[in-house]
Symmetry: C2
Subunit: 205 residues, 2 copies
């Protein structure tokens, strides 16, 4: 039996994914929201952990990433069992999954067979990459913004003013404005709001 | 047999919901993305149409709403077969579903049994409201922004500048600024970006 842990924060979708994968006679399913996933990954020893990575805000991946950064022998193991579901138009989510060390990548517009194949491959200790994600991988390799720029833009997206961002990061307001100009230019946006929209859509924020 | 049409734009989730509902022996499932849903609603005569309404951008509901506004005898029928899945924290999506005339409302954090019960009720010509959505209904009744304010804020969220919005709507820039101030005040936001964030989160945009 392949033991599969499905992580999704919306219960009806989590149960639906469990119903889908649970049709395979050789797969035993456990489903959980992201907040419980870490505990389950520790205790349940699933063979494959399937995570819907395509969310614009804090992703369950960040939880799992934090988990795999703790350095325990067990945690490297956790990333090696990770299979993520990502949208083609969301290179940022794919990038986070890559950074965490995920082994399987399935497009959210794939047929169920693709997901099931991916689960079997990752369970067998192999890598699995959905062909439909080739272009997304390419865009995921070119992060348009620096860490600092992402920090500034995240704060702006949360509604912080230039003054608040400056105080919070210990910068002058002029420097924050310079960051915002660079961000707007690099994302090809018309203005700050447009830069937030573009970056959230691509999953960078 | 109850014929169920499942509408979701993400294929793997659409297939997953189909697997979930398809476990019921008396339900026959068809699943489609929103762009095909209208055609299917016309031709397929499903007994119940289940739509994931909880999206911040253009919802499939708008398609179906347009459909039910065409005035044909058949269309009133369409809304009467509509069951929506909505998040508790998204009164805007609930409001759109109410405005379209949906008959069933199931919380996305419900157990599958709740969805199946809702489908049976709507198929039987009854209304169905998930108790978990009581608070969301309350908030859905108090739309905080006027139609005009929503138009202005939508344009701003798409990255349009005050000048562009003014030109597009045939207003002075001063009037657009007044609208933005009113919007910021009414949503309890700190500034324009914050107002967009709050309104998108609640599903008003």
């Amino acid at each position: 039996m392949i033991r599969v842990l499905l992580v999704h924060d919306v219960r009806i979708l989590r149960c639906a994914l469990a119903a889908l994968v649970g049709r395979e006679p050789d797969m035993a399913i456990e489903a959980a929201p992201a907040k419980d996933a870490m505990r389950l990954v520790r205790t349940l020893t699933a063979d494959v952990c399937v995570v819907d990575a395509d969310v614009t805000k804090r992703s369950p991946l960040d939880e799992l990433a934090g988990f795999s950064r703790t350095g325990a022998a067990r945690t490297a193991d956790a990333a090696q069992r990770l299979l993520v579901l990502v949208s083609q138009h969301c290179p940022g989510a794919l990038r986070r999954a890559l950074d965490v060390g995920a082994r399987g990548f399935v497009c959210k517009d794939a047929l169920p067979e693709q997901l099931v194949t991916g689960i079997r491959r990752v369970a067998a200790g192999e890598r699995f990459v959905d062909n439909a994600l080739a272009g997304t991988f390419l865009r995921a390799s070119e992060v348009p913004l620096s860490e600092r720029e992402l920090t500034v833009l995240s704060a702006a997206a949360e509604g912080a003013s230039v003054g608040e961002i400056a105080r919070h990061l210990g910068l002058s307001t002029g420097t924050v404005r310079n960051y915002m100009s660079a961000i707007t230019r690099k994302t090809g946006a018309r203005n700050r709001v447009d830069a937030i929209r573009i970056s959230q859509g691509a999953g960078w924020l």
